[in-house]
């Protein structure tokens, strides 16, 4: 069933693979199995639940992968903005909301809208927008083909401006919370500069996460290499699988492996955005 032949696994990886396969199936407790079977077969399992077909759950619950289609009227302001950008900016891509998930609000440049009102959120997204989301809300914003950024609330950051010919193509500030960024195939190769109060992060092509709170800035690198330091003169090259932690109190920074929970978040972000640059 599994195409196990065409993988270029190293001998070590193949050894791991074989060991995992040898673990075998886990057997359930017989009494639990018997009781659950009886409940399932008799329908008792669904007692007290809604059984009307119209209200049956949508059982395949996948995160949306495709870009949302907005109503014509709703996109008029964005179209107008796009025309202006094309006119003045030679057709550079613009920041666009990719997805917003969760329950709560999104505040952009001091305007607060319900996260469920996707069009309202989308219409507020502009370069250099100051954005904050509360706990329970996740927001992904894409610069077509170039960058995708994601925040998981509570978080606050400033969206990068469009390139303006400076040394850094894009510059953003993370004020607090969790900020993830992934470069796309049309990323020009010039650098993205991410600033926090404790440090600066320079990337050229990578997937990283920046966690900022009152005590630390922690930068986790999933792919590629990021230059991370207090200022431009003190940058460490941090490779995939590692993180650098910089302290507000000025303590010596630490370079250590990514914490599993953060790696989990980054892997989900990467998987979620696997198709983001396909168009």
């Amino acid at each position: 069933m599994s195409e196990r032949d065409n993988m270029n696994l190293t001998p070590e990886e193949r050894q791991m693979q074989e060991s995992v396969r040898d673990l075998g199936e886990v057997r359930a407790d017989d009494a639990f199995r018997a009781k659950l079977r009886q409940q399932f077969v008799s329908g008792e399992i669904a007692e007290g639940e809604t059984t009307a077909e119209a209200e049956a759950p949508k059982i395949v619950e996948m995160p949306p992968q495709k870009r949302r289609r907005r109503g014509f009227l709703a996109v008029l302001p964005a179209m107008a903005a796009m025309l202006a950008i094309i006119f003045f900016n030679g057709g550079d891509p613009e920041w666009e909301m990719k997805d917003v998930r969760g329950t709560g609000t999104v505040t952009v440049n001091e305007q607060t809208v319900d996260a469920a009102d996707r069009d309202a959120v989308a219409n507020l997204i502009v370069p250099q927008a100051h954005i904050s989301v509360p706990e329970g809300v996740q927001l992904d914003i894409v610069l077509d083909g170039v960058l995708v950024v994601g925040v998981a609330g509570p978080a606050e950051f400033t969206l990068p401006d469009n390139p303006d010919g400076d040394d850094y193509a894009y510059q953003t500030t993370v004020h607090k919370g969790e900020f993830r960024i992934k470069t796309g195939p049309e990323f020009p190769g010039s650098q993205v500069l991410i600033l926090t109060t404790e440090g600066r992060i320079e990337i050229t092509g990578t997937t990283i996460a920046v966690y900022k709170n009152d005590e630390v800035t922690c930068v986790c690198v999933l792919e590629g290499t990021a230059l991370i330091g207090k200022d431009g003169a003190h940058l460490d090259a941090i490779g995939a699988g590692m993180r650098k932690v910089m302290f507000v109190d000025g303590s010596e920074p630490a370079i250590i492996p990514i914490e599993p929970g953060h790696e989990h978040g980054l892997l989900e972000f990467e998987g979620y955005n696997e198709h983001t640059f396909d168009d």
């Binding site: 599994s2 990886e13 396969r21 199995r33 399932f40 399992i45 059982i59 630390v216 929970g261 892997l267």
Partner: protein, 207 residues
């Protein structure tokens, strides 16, 4: 439990399915016997998947209980022309991912201020030093299970689906709604990570 074919009629059973199309039709109608056959055919595989993903019996039991509740409620939506296995695996993995997310949310909140502390590597080091750990070091299977439990969840997901459930990368991509190249890449990374975790624990396990 197996399919019941009549030689005089063409076989319309879904390929690879452990149940015949006729049985699946009855599952749609929530016929008790057919539900029983569905349960018997898939419970073991789905419980094992839930256990491997969640890492303990209580969580696995919660997952399969919720799974069979959802299956019962949505039985009328079952596509009798297709093997129900991918459908069931998808529900199970989604339930586990939901559980992870809710757990992750709490964990992130609790550990953000502790970012500076390499608690993870410290924990591993502490474990190696305990007498109980010495006692189980000879048990490679248990060590491997522990390492599997410590794999980041998205990595554990692809390893379990690939090597314990027998899915290929394309099938995994369907189940978890991600691109096959991403799955392939993550799977390869996961094997490397798993090896590292084992080596941290006890280097000579891999010799």
């Amino acid at each position: 439990m197996g399919p019941h074919h009549n030689d005089a009629t063409p076989n319309t059973d879904p390929p690879s399915s452990l149940l015949a199309a006729a049985d699946l039709e009855k599952v749609r109608a929530r016929d008790p016997e057919a539900l029983g056959r569905l349960f018997d055919a898939y419970f073991g595989r789905l419980y094992s998947l839930a256990y491997r993903l969640m890492g303990n019996e209580a969580a696995a039991q919660d997952i399969v209980q919720e799974l069979f509740l959802r299956v019962h409620k949505a039985a009328h939506q079952l596509d009798v022309t297709r093997d129900p296995a991918p459908w069931l695996l998808t529900i199970t993995t989604n339930l586990c991912r939901e559980k992870w997310r809710s757990r992750q949310g709490r964990q992130d909140k609790a550990t953000l201020s502790l970012d500076a502390k390499p608690e993870y590597t410290e924990n591993v080091a502490a474990k190696v030093a305990t007498p109980e750990q010495d006692a189980i070091e000879a048990d490679h299977g248990r060590l491997l299970e522990e390492a599997l439990d410590r794999l980041p969840e998205p990595m554990r997901l692809v390893v379990v689906l690939h090597d314990m459930q027998g899915l290929n990368h394309e099938e995994i991509a369907e189940v978890i709604d991600e691109a096959a190249p991403a799955v392939r890449k993550r799977y390869s990374r996961a094997l490397v990570k798993l090896r590292e975790l084992l080596q941290d624990h006890k280097p000579d396990v891999l010799e």
